[in-house]
């Protein structure tokens, strides 16, 4: 760990499909290199949620489309990780209001942290200004606007906070898909759409 300030950890889990957005991590890591002074490990780490090794990660990513049903070990690690000061970014790939992922994941979180733990965060939350400034809260994605899934624009994110800080950030916006492209293609965008990823990670690291 000494030679890095940050490494990207993707969590696998038993019930659903964690293997999504494969190009996203390297694209986000590239943005960290481009915009920040963080020393990053360029290799994505894939760790099981049930593996205690995940507790050491500064940041974890959790995503999928399908039903989420945690095993006892997964549930235990998740609770320890969040309560112990970790940072988990959860992205609903389907962002479908009737979607399995959203319903089942939210139910799991309710079970672990109580029904009210996961709540909307205001659009002026610190996470929207931890690096770049997002005046209107979470930036909209191209993917959620194109008639896929529920065709709704979710103009908020939800979070579980511990001690006044977000420890679990939950999105129905499918940022994972939005950022899922070869990092070399960022140069074709008029505005880099991974900037919010930089905010999330900077916030996770304490900014």
């Amino acid at each position: 760990m000494a030679s890095y300030d940050f490494y990207f950890t993707r969590l696998t889990y038993e019930s659903g499909d964690w293997d999504v957005d494969v190009r996203m991590p390297s694209n986000v890591l590239n943005s960290l290199v481009e915009y920040t002074t963080l020393r990053v490990d360029p290799v994505e780490r894939i760790v099981a949620l049930s593996d205690p090794k995940m507790l050491e990660a500064p940041f974890c990513y959790f995503a999928g489309h399908k039903l989420v049903q945690f095993t006892a070990a997964e549930r235990k690690n998740l609770e320890r990780y969040i309560k112990g000061g970790g940072f988990l970014f959860v992205d609903d790939c389907n962002h479908d209001i009737d979607g399995l992922f959203a319903k089942s994941f939210e139910a799991e979180i309710g079970r672990i942290f109580g029904p009210k733990a996961l709540h909307k965060i205001p659009n002026n939350h610190a996470i929207y200004s931890s690096f770049f400034k997002f005046e209107d809260g979470p930036p909209n994605t191209g993917v959620e606007l194109n008639g896929w899934g529920d065709d709704l624009v979710h103009d908020y994110l939800k979070a579980v906070e511990v001690g006044g800080r977000v420890r679990l950030l939950y999105s129905n916006k499918d940022y994972g898909c939005e950022w899922d492209y070869d990092f070399r293609n960022k140069r074709f965008l008029a505005v880099d759409n991974t900037r919010f990823a930089v905010n999330i990670i900077q916030y996770a690291l304490g900014a």
């Binding site: 190009r23 790939c93 389907n94 191209g142 993917v143 194109n146 008639g147 896929w148 899934g149 898909c177 899922d180 492209y181 070869d182 070399r184 293609n185 074709f188």
Partner: protein
């Protein structure tokens, strides 16, 4: 009116030059016999034959130019057309950008004529239609198609001694086969200048196979995918890009090839280094006339993109003169280098991706970045572990050919493809491209 042979065409041109009282005179004669057959709902809807020979004369007094044309060739008509052009020229305002007629050109002839194509008759056309209708019907499909063939000649001449004559022929075929319930649709396009290179049965079978395989398409989430683009999926995208290779637009700051601060991007690397594209009027697969009918300049073999770098731009004669460049004839074809692999072999080496067999209704969204939008159509499939898994619903894309040609993984074996809304005859490889940007789904089949 029968087709003019070279001597007859020359005689008409010489006669016109001698009649002209203007400072200069340019002549173009085009003759063609176009036959076609159209069918839909498994029955022929129209069939026709059109013959026409048209003569166009352009004369100039100083910088005033006038144009007229006619399709009769007796002495009286030739006199009439010259006088009409002269009348229009006298009425026209002076054009400061007027370019005098070109000096004598060296046109090295290309093989644009094929006896086999010229021999196509109504029975041949009816057979093409019957063959494709019957093969479709056998599979319970409904065919709609169009076959057309053209045989003709082109002549250009001017009062500086320019003269060119060449015969040409070509054919084009498209057919769409759909399932009765409208849930599957397949399409194929073929073009050739030599009918011996055309096989209606082979072509129809491809459309049929695509129609049968495309039933029960599943919706896949829009996003950036690795795609295998068949030549019919990229020809209009790439063709539109070459339509924007004009040097003047670039120099004037209103093209994707304009340079920040002024000038153009000639010599800059804009694409992946696997991209090599050139024009060659003498290419045996996509031969075109060795001159550009508008400027009457000789065409040349020219690199357009070499190793991903912009190798040349299109100069009009006026702009070339102004910029101290040499103008050459506008290109008639575009040839893109590829590899040896077939589309099937490109699929076999793909872990996850989408096969796009055709794109449709492509329009420029932003000329600054060459962003184009359009849709997939008539056969779009999901690929997993080297195999076609299942058909997918059609996508709308928003993508620039510039980013597309930067994201090339692999190129296959080039095939001939005629332009629909673009003017080039093309030889284009199937391409495996990363991160192709699909932005929404379409319910259309």
């Amino acid at each position: 009116m029968k087709m003019l042979n070279q001597e007859e065409a020359k005689r008409v041109c010489d006669k016109l030059m001698s009649l002209s009282k203007a400072d200069e005179c340019r002549v173009q004669i085009s003759g063609s016999r176009n036959g076609n057959i159209r069918y839909a709902r498994n029955a022929v809807s129209t069939a026709g034959l059109a013959e026409n020979t048209q003569l166009t004369v352009s004369v100039a007094f100083g910088k005033r130019q006038g144009t007229a044309s006619i399709n009769e060739f007796d002495d009286k008509s030739l006199e009439k057309v010259i006088r009409r052009a002269e009348d229009v020229a006298r009425l026209a305002p002076e054009n400061p950008e007027f370019q005098p007629a070109v000096k004598k050109q060296d046109y090295k002839s290309s093989v644009t004529f094929s006896e086999a194509t010229a021999a196509i008759d109504p029975e041949y056309r009816a057979e093409v239609a019957a063959l494709s209708i019957n093969s479709a019907r056998k599979q319970g499909l409904v065919a709609a198609g169009f076959f057309s063939d053209t045989t003709g000649f082109e002549t250009v001449a001017n009062s500086n001694g320019v003269f060119g004559y060449q015969t040409l022929s070509n054919l084009g075929f498209t057919v769409t086969t759909r399932t009765e319930d409208g849930r599957g649709s397949g399409w194929v396009t073929r073009s050739a200048n030599d009918a011996r290179k055309f096989d209606a049965r082979e072509a129809s079978e491809i459309a049929i196979e695509k129609a049968l395989k495309s039933v029960d398409a599943k919706a896949l989430e829009p996003g950036r995918y690795t795609v295998i683009l068949e030549p019919a999926a990229t020809s209009e995208i790439i063709g539109r890009m070459f339509g924007a290779f004009d040097a003047r637009q670039a120099d004037e700051g209103r093209s994707f090839l304009s340079k920040k601060g002024g000038g153009n991007r000639l010599g800059e690397k804009l694409f992946d280094e696997q991209v090599n594209i050139w024009a060659d009027p003498w290419n045996p697969d996509v031969p075109v006339l060795p001159w550009d009918g508008q400027a009457m300049l000789a065409r040349e073999r020219a690199d357009v993109v070499k190793g991903g770098k912009i190798a040349s731009l299109d100069y009009t004669r006026y702009w070339a003169e102004k910029q101290g460049q040499r103008a050459t004839g506008r290109h008639g074809n575009m040839i893109m280098a590829g590899g040896g692999k077939s589309t099937e072999e490109l699929i076999a080496s793909t872990k996850k991706g989408i096969l796009v067999t055709r794109t449709w209704y492509i329009r420029m969204v932003d000329p600054q970045s060459l962003l184009l939008t359009g849709l997939t159509r008539d056969g779009t499939f999901y690929i997993e572990n080297g195999k076609i898994k299942h058909p997918v619903k059609n996508f709308r894309f928003n993508e620039s050919p510039v980013s597309m040609l930067n994201n090339i993984d692999e190129l296959g074996k080039p095939v001939v493809i005629g332009g629909d809304e673009v003017r080039y005859q093309m030889l284009i490889p199937p391409m495996k491209v990363r991160d192709f940007n699909f932005t929404s789904l379409s319910d259309a089949v």
